[in-house]
Subunit: 349 residues, 3 copies
């Protein structure tokens, strides 16, 4: 594709030779002739200078050094759009595969695509132009919004509601029974039925093999008629994440891979849970908080707070303490020496 | 539903106006007119006093303040039964879906329900009234007891045996090949075939996307003819749990989400592994032990012991040390100051 | 089976009574009459002396105490082969199940076995003698080598390439969209399309419900034309592992259960990541390195290095510090006492 064509298709201004051929995309450190890359900010000016990319997407004031470039206030986002141009992936065509089992009581919208061996239960509703890949299982009573993309083998259990433009990666299980049990008088354990489902807002993404459990009526309702496990809008959840019953995630939250949210965890708007971190449940992670990878959150985290550690503490304190942690044996020896000098016995003498 | 009807259906005594209408269930802190809640003990008496619930399930001696209530020694368990009444969920009807592929050599009991696209292999046996949701894969030689509920997309590999009333949530894989390899003389790695399966006792629950691996003949047999990975009775396993080859879980064990049990882990009766905890394998967690969330168990844990930490230590010691952990940098400075006062050089000077 | 038959079939020398009957396999500590076990080295000579096994596979110079035995330089590997003899598991027969949906544009090699309800998309290629169990989903453009074994419910997304003799356990998702987003000028988040797939080398094993994400063109290409998430040859990956977009694993790497590799993690040849460990991403774990279970790798790990801890440090240092960790409260008290003796105030006084 020529540079000027690319610029036109992305709706961007370009500089340099219009006929520059771009045939591939590459990272800044590797891009060569005929390849398009991007630069996100001034801190990369040295790498840009050393780069041999055929063209780059640059921020508005960034010095192009006279090379072919496209201008954008969000270079990485435009690069993402360029990926779509160079590696197009057509959606499956609308229509219902002959092998799909669709309950007569289910409703399919306009332009819906239902793949091979999809099973759709009674009372389920699929919104316009949504796409279900092969082997998706939609239990009775599920509602899926418009323009959703549900990849292969996803399981949507009863009473799950998805908004519009929700993407679910393969194998995810949404709406399974939460891990809730009640003790009987004899000390045995009975299961609490989790019947009130999961609600996922517009533009959310759910990763491969992630599990999100349904709620039951003893969970907080947050002003609604019935308690649901809920994700707001534009929540991004990575792979192999567990979201427990009764959790409540506000808009724009990010949950990285292998995170475990214990039941009734609230996560405030825009907060981030780093990979492999976890919440003990029954706590609130504040708006804009950043929970570092691997952190065990054992109580509330304030708005905008950054925490690390198992169990968690302010990141600043954790990092300093962890750096000192390796000096613990030395510290014991030094204190022992001081005690000897002062003719004190230590506690363990 | 009227209060007296509800009481009759739950088999409980009630107090207050028999015609009190109950239309929904709610937590104690939120319940309002027409809503039923529950109180588990005296410690909630203040919250009960402040509650506006239409009716509550109360322990026998709890002061009802003259309000409508039902009496039970296990209020939460009765609330669970009430959830079933207010949010009934009919089971799929008995019968075999026309799209199910059932090997002629498989045996299905009375009243079994087999959903769309279930695949049942040769020699498999499904007990009476068990229910297989769509897309379940039952490999050859599997045996499922009576009254089991196997949700969509579960994979039961060869030689897996489930007892009665076992519930398996969507996407779980039971009986996959364990992570077992043997070194060859040249230092290469060959796979050890794991052919002897998994045995799961009555009334167990297995969570969504959980994986439980099969054993092989070099694993401990615990007095049986052949080694199997085994769960006893009433074991509750949450979502995204890994149970490695040769593990042996006794009755009434609880395994929370994202726990990893390395191979040949024994877990004694009634023990609890908190979320995101892990066992290095080849160790025993004693009966009634409590392994806190996030703990790395690196050796045996005694009966009734409570442990925390990575790697684990008694919880009492861990909590105190962790509280002191944030004071490590301060400690280094204080020791430096003492050494200066005593005109001692520190180790790093 | 007679001892001499067993020896002949395994191609090993034997000692002792040729007609010794072997009917089962067992671990050294449990094996009895008629059972075969193995001994891996001298350190087990006391257990061997105490064993009542009918026969054992022994290293060449190991003292058999006059008992029936087979000789091998790799006893465990031969035991593994004996498991195959005593617990044979026939492969599914070649052929395509009538319910499989195979795109006319897909190519199936010689002797391929395609199970019930497998879906194979356009342009996919399956190599000779490969075996796809029921419910496998093969998206368009996937290529699978020869002699592969793909268990039930595996999802192979677009542009995934598997080499020869690759084994994938049930429920794994290979090639899902990575967790990659770009910020727009307004601060919103757009998804970066991950279109360039995953490449998995010969003889790899992927565990149950493991997720491996596809890459996009901004990931490192390692000298190739396009960036892919890549596993080399003979890489063994356990269950419930997350391998993020752009990761690059060299030959003979071992990844244990519940490991999380953040995007763009490089793992050098022969390195081992212990269970539940994790990489923050954008780092290199050196060749032959050993990352202990539960470790949080937050930066490069050198070749052959052994690390532990969250965040990681050399194992030797971590172990000593962790042993001293439980003495932190004691240390604070001892320093307080010293300060009092020297009439110094502490920092918190």
């Amino acid at each position: 594709m020529r540079l000027d064509d690319l610029a036109r298709r992305l709706g961007l201004e370009f500089e340099g030779e219009p006929s520059t051929e771009i045939s591939a995309l590459a990272p800044l450190s590797e891009a060569g002739t005929g390849e398009l890359t991007f630069v996100s900010g001034e801190r990369l000016s040295a790498q840009y200078a050393a780069s041999r990319a055929g063209a780059a997407i640059l921020p508005p004031e960034f010095d192009s050094l006279g090379r072919a470039c496209l201008r954008s206030a969000a270079p990485y986002a435009e690069f993402a759009r360029a990926v779509e141009l160079f590696h197009p992936r057509p959606s499956p065509p609308p229509g219902v595969h002959p092998t799909a089992v669709v309950d007569p009581g289910a409703e399919l919208g306009e332009g819906v695509s239902v793949g091979a061996y999809v099973v759709i239960g009674e009372g389920a509703r699929i919104g316009d132009r949504s796409c279900l890949y092969p082997h998706v299982t939609v239990y009775p009573g599920v509602s899926i919004g418009a323009d959703c993309r549900i990849h292969s083998g996803v399981h949507l259990r009863e009473e799950v509601r998805l908004g519009d433009r929700v993407i679910v990666q393969s194998g995810a299980v949404i709406g399974g029974e939460g891990f809730g049990f009640a003790p009987t008088a004899e000390g045995a354990r009975v299961r609490v039925p989790h019947r009130t489902g999961v609600e996922i807002g517009d533009d959310c993404e759910i990763g491969s093999n992630t599990t999100i459990d349904a709620a039951h009526p003893a969970h907080p309702r947050h002003g609604h008629a019935v308690a649901r496990t809920r994700l707001g809008e534009r929540v991004a959840v990575d792979n192999l994440v567990q979201i427990g019953h009764g959790c409540w995630l506000e808009d724009d939250v990010t949950i990285c891979a292998l995170v475990g949210l214990g039941g009734t965890t609230e996560v405030g708007r825009g907060a981030v849970m780093g990979g492999v971190s976890a919440s003990a449940g029954h706590l609130r992670v504040g708006a804009g908080a950043r929970v570092g990878g691997g952190t065990g959150v054992s109580g509330d985290v304030g708005d905008g707070e950054e925490v690390l550690g198992y169990t968690h503490m302010p990141a600043r304190i954790y990092r300093r303490s962890w750096a000192a942690f390796k000096r613990l044996p030395e510290l014991l020896r030094r204190v022992r020496r001081i005690e000897q000098r002062l003719k004190l016995g230590g506690e363990t003498d």
